[in-house]
């Protein structure tokens, strides 16, 4: 299939399907929209899209980065129709049938809103593509989960542009919050219940904001930033309690 973008009417048709699907969770998604010439236009240059299974967000990230390579990043980041078409194309991956039913999330998980800073990072396919762009390495905290949902660590980081635009930040996050022994994120770092010293959800963003007043964080490497973060962030071998 050739990569297309939905026009406004196409996006509204998809939105209508999502609404219907919330009350009729077993209906098929409208694949016929994908090549409807009244609701879509072909993306130029033409790009061939393969239907495939994404096990993890990482699989989607690598596939989409390769797929969209002919396009400029700026074009990709602002194209609502493109990402919404991709959502429809890979709907079984981002909204899988479980026991014959789909659990439909908020529209912004599937319909891309590039101008809405509160929603833009919640698009399930865009966030995968964007993460790999920002973090070609040191990304295991964020790319290991399923593509069909947005985990708390990814959400907490990707919603804050002032964090993601620090070049060394993904290496810092990996060193601070990856549990080497268990091969997963350290326990307690994104919990909502309490604020813990050195946690990712509460303390890391606050500390970065404080450091921004004094330091140009874009100029630092990971060692320098970790040192500046202070003592509460140095004990990376034990779970946060």
């Amino acid at each position: 299939m050739i990569l297309r973008r939905l026009n406004q009417a196409g996006i509204e048709a998809f939105r209508q399907f999502l609404e219907t699907c919330r009350s009729h969770t077993d209906i098929n998604h409208p694949c016929d929209l994908l090549e409807d010439s009244a609701l879509t236009t072909v993306v130029q240059p033409t790009i061939e899209v393969d239907q495939r299974h994404f096990g993890e967000r990482r699989d989607a990230a690598h596939y989409l980065n390769g797929l969209l390579q002919p396009l400029s990043d700026h074009q990709i980041e602002s194209d609502a129709g493109l990402w919404t078409w991709l959502s429809l194309c890979f709907f079984d991956e981002i909204c899988p049938l479980r026991n014959g039913r789909r659990q439909i999330k908020k529209d912004y998980s599937y319909i891309f809103e590039p101008m809405n800073s509160r929603h833009v990072y919640r698009h399930l396919l865009f966030v995968a593509w964007r993460l790999l762009k920002l973090a070609p390495t040191h990304n295991r905290l964020f790319l290991g989960g399923p593509v069909s949902s947005l985990d708390q660590a990814t959400s907490e980081v990707m919603k804050r542009l002032y964090i993601t635009r620090i070049p060394c930040v993904f290496e810092v996050l990996d060193r601070l919050y990856w549990d080497k022994n268990r091969g997963r994120i350290r326990s307690g770092v994104v919990t909502t219940e309490r604020v813990s010293p050195g946690d990712l959800r509460h303390r890391f963003p606050i500390r970065i904001r404080q450091l921004e007043m004094t330091y140009d964080l874009q100029s630092l490497n990971a060692d320098q930033l970790i040192e500046l973060l202070g003592a509460e962030f140095q004990n990376t071998d034990s779970p946060i309690t």
């Binding site: 700026h74 007043m213 140009d216």
Partner: protein, 258 residues
């Protein structure tokens, strides 16, 4: 009262040391003349210019060489900077002793010259941009440097009406002032600080409006006292602009008849 002190040690650089021109295009590009003579910035320190736009979180960063040798980068395109209210920040950064420390900063630098896509000169303390807001008519976007009123981009002419329509103005601006001042007080800035960040500018503005020119309360003041101070400022704002009278004067006559 708790005295708030700037501990960062960074020096404020006058905006006159940077002159910016933004050129129309898709995307737009810019030229900047940076002259740090007389600022006391140390030789060897790195210089960066950052471009932003009111109502957006996008920041574009451009290396401009060193204090003694300003070299503009070849690529000066403003990719992702979409609105008309573009502004810049200049940073001078230590790269020798305390790596990354900001030695000097100039914020809120507006283009002196620009094409039709970009606003020039000072924009006041509340720039207005359009944004996709769904069923909301307006919201406020709080950035690092500025606060921006965003109006729904699906309503033709709303951005202009937000500037002159007395009915719209009277209905929303008291709420806007209240909301911004509440957030500004929570920032805990010093109103005497030489800064162009929005909380400082808004609290200075509010202090000048307050009937007793009362200094803004600190974050540790009781909520009741903070609300009382804000109420006094909002009331003064409404009186200064005779918002009720203007509202009544411009109200369509058939509203009374309904």
């Amino acid at each position: 009262m708790i005295k708030r002190v700037n501990f960062t040690g960074r020096k404020r650089i006058a905006r006159s040391h940077v002159r910016v021109e933004v050129r129309d295009g898709t995307p737009r590009t810019f030229d900047a003349l940076v002259n740090l003579d007389g600022t006391g910035m140390p030789i060897g320190a790195s210089v960066f210019l950052e471009a932003m736009c009111a109502g957006s979180t996008v920041v574009r960063r451009f290396p401009f060489g060193a204090v003694e040798r300003i070299i503009p980068p070849k690529d000066r395109t403003l990719d992702g900077i979409e609105g008309e209210n573009v502004f810049f920040a200049l940073k001078v950064v230590d790269n020798r002793e305390r790596i990354g420390r900001i030695l000097g900063i100039a914020e809120n630098i507006r283009p002196e010259r620009a094409g039709i896509q970009t606003a020039t000169g000072r924009q006041g303390i509340l720039p207005i941009e359009t944004a996709p807001l769904g069923q909301q008519l307006w919201d406020l976007h709080f950035g690092e440097i500025d606060v921006c009123l965003r109006v729904n981009d699906e309503i033709s002419g709303l951005k202009e009406r937000a500037r002159w329509d007395p009915i719209f103005y009277a209905a929303i601006y008291p709420a806007i002032v209240r909301q911004i001042l509440s957030r500004a007080l929570a920032e805990g800035v010093d109103v005497e600080e030489q800064s162009d960040r929005w909380p400082v500018l808004w609290l200075k503005f509010a202090k000048s409006l307050h009937p007793d020119q009362e200094t803004p309360p600190t974050p540790d003041t009781s909520e009741e006292d903070r609300d009382s101070w804000i109420d006094a400022v909002v009331d003064a704002f409404c009186r200064q602009h005779t918002l009720k009278d203007e509202f009544v004067k411009h109200l369509p006559t058939d509203v009374d008849d309904a």
